[in-house]
């Protein structure tokens, strides 16, 4: 599973990264988590804002910190 955290590195992006890492750990799924911080790289995903979470190419949330339970449900679907 490929997970990308989109965001230039503000506190909300960091909090999102933390929640995703915890969700990955707690669900035990095998996942490669990558932070995408470049403006043009982020723009390529077509998101209106950050932070955003992308799982296997599918954008799951935009402009907000996701709830851990939501991330877990994305990981286990």
């Amino acid at each position: 599973m490929e997970i990308k955290i989109l965001g230039p590195g503000c506190p909300k992006c960091e909090q999102t990264s933390k929640i995703v890492a915890e969700a990955v750990s707690e669900t035990g799924v095998e996942a490669n988590v990558e932070k995408v911080t470049g403006v043009m790289d982020i723009a390529g995903y077509g998101v209106f804002g950050t932070p955003a979470v992308v799982i296997d190419g599918d954008v799951k949330c935009v402009g907000k910190i996701p709830k851990k339970e939501d991330v877990k449900s994305w990981l286990t679907k």
Partner: protein, 141 residues
């Protein structure tokens, strides 16, 4: 565009039908000018229509959105419905008394009329001055 892409201010998403008529292009021009003036940020309705996840999810997750259709055919509204995006504020250009035709020489007074209708729909008295928009890249709200 990139410099304001992640600006935290004025985070209203503006979607215009940008259709092939005077009123469609008035929706487009009004969206451009409102973005430049700091009301919000124009976003790609085509990306939502294309069912690209970044665009669709952005529209679903945004707190404030205004959709501008040129005419009552309502293509922007239909695209949002098709994508499962709840319609928030909504403006139809012909409701402002502008007749639909194929004259693409847009009139300044008609652009102003559309912008005014959008501002009314959003409950905004006047757009934020352009110099108040962020020139730096930051995270959303």
């Amino acid at each position: 565009m990139v410099q304001n892409f992640f600006a935290p201010q004025s985070n209203v998403m503006i979607l215009a039908c940008s259709g092939g008529s005077n009123v469609g292009q008035l929706s487009n021009q009004a969206a451009i000018e409102l973005t430049q003036e700091g009301l919000g940020k124009m976003f790609c309705l085509a990306g939502i229509g294309g069912n690209l996840s970044g665009f669709v999810q952005s529209a679903k997750d945004i707190d404030q959105m205004v959709a501008i259709d040129g005419c009552k055919v309502g293509c922007a509204k239909a695209i949002l419905e098709q994508a499962g995006v709840p319609l928030q504020e909504y403006v139809v250009v012909t409701d402002s008394g502008i007749e639909k035709d194929k004259n693409f020489s847009l009139k300044a007074e008609e652009i102003a009329k559309v912008k005014s209708a959008v501002l009314d729909a959003c409950g905004t008295g006047a757009p934020v001055a352009a110099d108040q928009t962020s020139k730096t890249i930051g995270c959303c709200g």
